[in-house]
Amino acid sequence: MNAPPDDLVRAVEATLFAATEPLTAAAISAHLGGAVVEPALAALAEHYAGRGIELVVRGERWHFQTAPDLAHLLRRDREEVRRLSRAATEVLAIVAYHEPVSRAEIESIRGVQTARGTLDVLLEAGWVRAVGRREVPGRPVIYATTPAFLSHFGLQSRRDLPGIDELRAAGLLDPVDVALLAALETGPDGTATGNTQENALD
């Protein structure tokens, strides 16, 4: 449909295509036995204008590149929906009920060390963010939930989170612990559980 390119143009085209780095006109010329390559470069640049590939010169070095407006096509996004791990769910719950909390506080509530990545997942999900530092020795970073957290869980505010009594009434607690909790509740020194939770939500 268009006139076939002459041999020099073809040679320059192939040389630039196969090159591992941008080439100066002099380097291309040396490669092609000293031919005058500038007209061929101009012809190629014109030929490729508007195509998916273009021939550009940067600092006197020529190279092919994909057209800038197509850059988005060369990066493909893929969304992968993943369930939050058990550990991450616990940490998120602790942040939600106790915020703002430091990492050390989260660990003391969970009773286990929290892997670095667990908190990172929540930060990445956009449900938790750092909100400052606690003014205690070591000035630990403290974390709180975000508006994105509320909207993901369909909560108007953190006050919508059920208290521990409601959890039990709703049967949301592990059955094996029911007797234990009952015992604690009737225990002599008040209900530590209940207090913590109330304070946290105050």
């Binding site: 990066r75 992968e80 939050l84 769910t89 939600a96």
Partner: protein, 255 residues
């Protein structure tokens, strides 16, 4: 490596130096046979097997005369070809299976197949090869796939996780509820006291306290039974039972 096709036309394999050289080049008896067959300058389908056998045996003889070390498979092939030759030449009384002609044909077919693959390999290598004759793009940007994690979790899991954390980390307190029981000591005292009152046989059931609580009744029965056994062992009481699972009666032994 000497290529068979490069041999001068019609050169008989009588040059000993060339022979020594060429024996290094063979990849095995079939390879040598194929080269010899090609020297016949005819289509492989029309080669003379007898001539081929003679040429091969001649080669082997010369190699032996020069005390060249020959791999065993060359000698095995030589023996087999000598047998084939005799089969082809000698008159036969009975038809052997497989016939020498069939063996010769088989050899010929094998040579054809090896020759075909050798030629195919040469034609394959002569093609425009990527990286030698044609080149891919020198510095491709590459196509990237950006993976985004979309995390999900629901309200139920969140709330349940919190409940379980609290339950798991609450201080563990162990409490045993007080249960109404009759201890063995109580039963012993009761039973021996009641046996002292009467010398007649009484049923164990009649010795039990009048108790509405079923748990306490069961406990009293068990303890009183053990108390009766203990009193019998000590010689302070006699036990009698008319039939299995019948009423257990007991009587005090005076003294």
């Amino acid at each position: 490596m000497p290529l068979p096709a490069d041999s001068p036309p019609g050169s008989p394999p009588d040059d000993e130096a060339a022979l020594v050289l060429s024996l290094d080049g063979w990849e095995g008896p079939l390879d040598l046979l194929l080269d010899l067959a090609r020297r016949q300058k005819v289509d492989l389908r029309r080669i003379s097997i007898l001539a081929l056998v003679d040429q091969y045996l001649d080669h082997i003889e010369r190699a032996r005369a020069l005390r060249l070390e020959l791999a065993a498979d060359y000698l095995v092939m030589a023996a087999w070809l000598a047998y084939l030759k005799s089969g082809l030449l000698l008159p036969r009384e009975a038809q052997e299976e497989p016939s020498p002609e069939e063996l010769a044909l088989r050899l010929q077919l094998r040579l054809q197949r090896l020759a075909a693959m050798r030629e195919a390999a040469a034609r394959l290598l002569a093609r425009d090869r990527l990286g030698r004759d044609v080149f891919p793009r020198g510095n491709p940007e590459g196509l990237a796939v950006d993976r985004h994690q979309q995390w999900t979790c629901d309200w139920f899991d969140l709330v349940q996780a919190y409940g379980q954390v609290k339950a798991r980390t609450a201080p563990v307190v162990h409490m045993v509820r007080d249960r109404m029981v009759m201890t063995l000591e109580t039963a012993l005292a009761r039973v021996s006291a009641m046996l002292g009152v009467s010398l007649d046989w009484v049923e164990l059931r009649d010795l039990l306290p009048d108790q509405p609580d079923p748990q306490l009744r069961r406990s009293a029965l068990a303890s009183s039974f053990v108390a009766a056994l203990e009193l019998a062992r000590l010689g302070k009481a006699e036990l009698a039972q008319a039939e299995p699972f019948g009423p257990l009666r007991l009587r005090g032994v005076p003294g």
